[in-house]
Symmetry: D2
Subunit: 219 residues, 4 copies
């Protein structure tokens, strides 16, 4: 079995909870209160910047020239396309980029990002590329699982947002990342990769949950 | 006003909540259930290892030879004395070092450590040394604030644990760290240092709170 | 005066020696022995890989989102176009990519690359982006200075190689990098930037000189 | 065979050249011109600072808690004792610490240090700890090989300088570092460790040679 498939299976109980989280369900069925969606979009700016910073670090640690060039390609796509989509959504919601810049990241946002950045800065390339996978991959799996709800939901804003994750280019990106993990994991401790994948998956769940409940700093 | 003093004042509302947190109050007054204390001690192993790793990184980023040598001195003291104290406490509680090694860190533990490590790996030396200060300094302030309770509490385990933070060598260590922050902060954006100090202080609060409520991973 | 211009003036004596180095002169006038050119091209593979790795690190340290995205654009251009040009030249010279991979880097190659990578890993963003500039910029200045010789040299191989550095896209790239340095240098110690720029310029000179004299490891 | 022993044997031709280099021979036999010795001591300040910075980075990358604590012990010993010895020697030669601070490092100094720092920042822990070994170990081997010359040389300055490397604490330090390499190398590509060890050994040779010939920057 490929490493990515084994990781996915070992995180199955967490992923089920992600896929069925109220935020996700309501988003795809169209009933998510717009305030929660706006909260999500504004929080995501900070995450997006750090995700791109993180991919930069990972490309500098790649274990081969081919992997480095592949990650640079992903980095560039993210930097160009994700930002473009992001800015369009801000505009649709009546926000400017400054509004997003000025939002204070909530605890789970700072924590998840810190986990990703400290992994890429201090751990192996194999663990770093693995830490990225749950975010990219779970978005595709969520979209696939709920695509029928999406078709019927009549909420053009959410439909449009989610359509990206069903698109050919996005699915192709996920496949490329899985392949990078499969290659990096060939001669690397599976136990360590599993720990990384599980932790990132847990943060994905906690992220959706904190956004849904608008959990800000307690002090 | 010195940078450290200004940071302390700007975090005052958070520090009050730390100092009066039930875990802290019950620990110093002697009424903390032993299970909560054991939970704390076992969680702390992971934190301690990463704190030492973190100080190593910071010493490599110091802005002067004097600062580097001072941080190496702190690093060595921590590596020798903290470990010794830690191992003695494990023994008193009936644990081995392996018990501590095998404990899974709770979310706030992973998050706080990741925040510290990503700061020292990617941000400036000034922000990195500032991120360390709330942990060291708040332990001293907690001990000073509650020292009367400690004298009367009759719980020799907790009294002995807390005595370290009232000791001359520990207070000296805190003063040295404050001085490093004061020096590093002289020509550095106060706004950035404040953000770092506030975030680390918030994690301190959330750490105590999660330990008190034994908050493990939700999935 | 802009920081980049000031740096260029302060390194003028070194740059004159670079521009008039025998390797450069003979290359542009067409008289460079083909063996020296082949030696250069094979050595450059290692340098190119590390240069791209280096730009990845620098993009993760950028001081603003705009700078980060700009550096990612440069990184991607380098990763795509430089490699393509490089592979075409290897082929023209009768080499495969494997030939280049298997070449042992000479001392100045390891030294220059190590200087760049340790700067981007451990020093500030301002110093890191400045360390890149002499390589990119001096190639443009060399090409501009010797363009008349190039037109007349009759050596199609060298003419084609050098044409890149006179092209609009390349000159645009250099201007973008100068602007990044100008911005990063606005509130940064000029003395430190100068030290970095001078050191990188010196390595550029020593690189040409070692290649011309085919200086390999003495032991 | 232990990894350290295998590395030593594979670098034997380089180490023989180091041990018999004129600088080393004349230093131990007492005939080295004092100007060359002064040049060496002044250059060494920069190297020493960076060596300590480098050990800090390596301790943050250690592959076990035991290795981390062992490296911190070495780091502290270096930071305390090496500096003390260094400052005493400066004084004996009529220099202040400022004189050493203000000396410009020669090319091989910048290059060797950059190689060490980029290795510890970007490569594995195993390669990083291996990159340190040639410096520490070769000083011990040089002293052992030439100790008879030293006894008879009548040059109290050089005798005193060299005595450190024949001392029990120093030899103990070297043994500890060899053990760290042996442990780290158990499950790591020998080929990569060999490349690192050879490169560091070559820089050791080139360092002695550049110091002996007082090779400063060519431009």
């Amino acid at each position: 079995m490929k490493v990515s498939q084994r990781l996915r299976e070992d995180a199955d109980n967490i992923w089920k909870r992600i896929i069925e989280h109220p935020f996700v369900l309501e988003l795809y069925s169209g009933s998510l209160p717009i305030d929660k969606f706006k909260f999500y979009i504004l929080q995501d700016y900070n995450y997006l910047i750090s995700a791109i910073k993180n991919i930069s670090i990972i490309s500098s640690r790649a274990d081969s020239v081919e992997a480095m060039r592949e990650i640079i390609e992903i980095l560039w796509l993210e930097s160009v396309s994700e930002f473009k989509g992001y800015e369009e959504f801000l505009e649709k919601l009546g926000y400017t980029i400054e509004d997003a810049v000025n939002v204070e990241p909530i605890p789970v946002n700072v924590s998840y990002i810190s986990f990703l950045l400290s992994t890429s800065s201090l751990k192996s390339y194999a663990e770093s590329i693995t830490s990225l996978l749950p975010c990219f991959w779970s978005y595709a799996e969520i979209a696939e699982y709920h695509k029928d709800k999406l078709r019927k939901n009549g909420n053009s804003l959410y439909t449009e947002w989610a359509a990206v994750y069903l698109s050919e280019p996005y699915l192709n990106l996920v496949e490329r990342m899985k392949k990078l993990v499969d290659n990096a994991g060939k001669e690397f401790s599976y136990k360590k990769l599993k720990k990384t994948f599980i932790t990132a998956s847990r943060y994905e769940y906690m992220y959706w949950d904190a956004i849904y409940n608008m959990h800000t700093w307690p002090v």
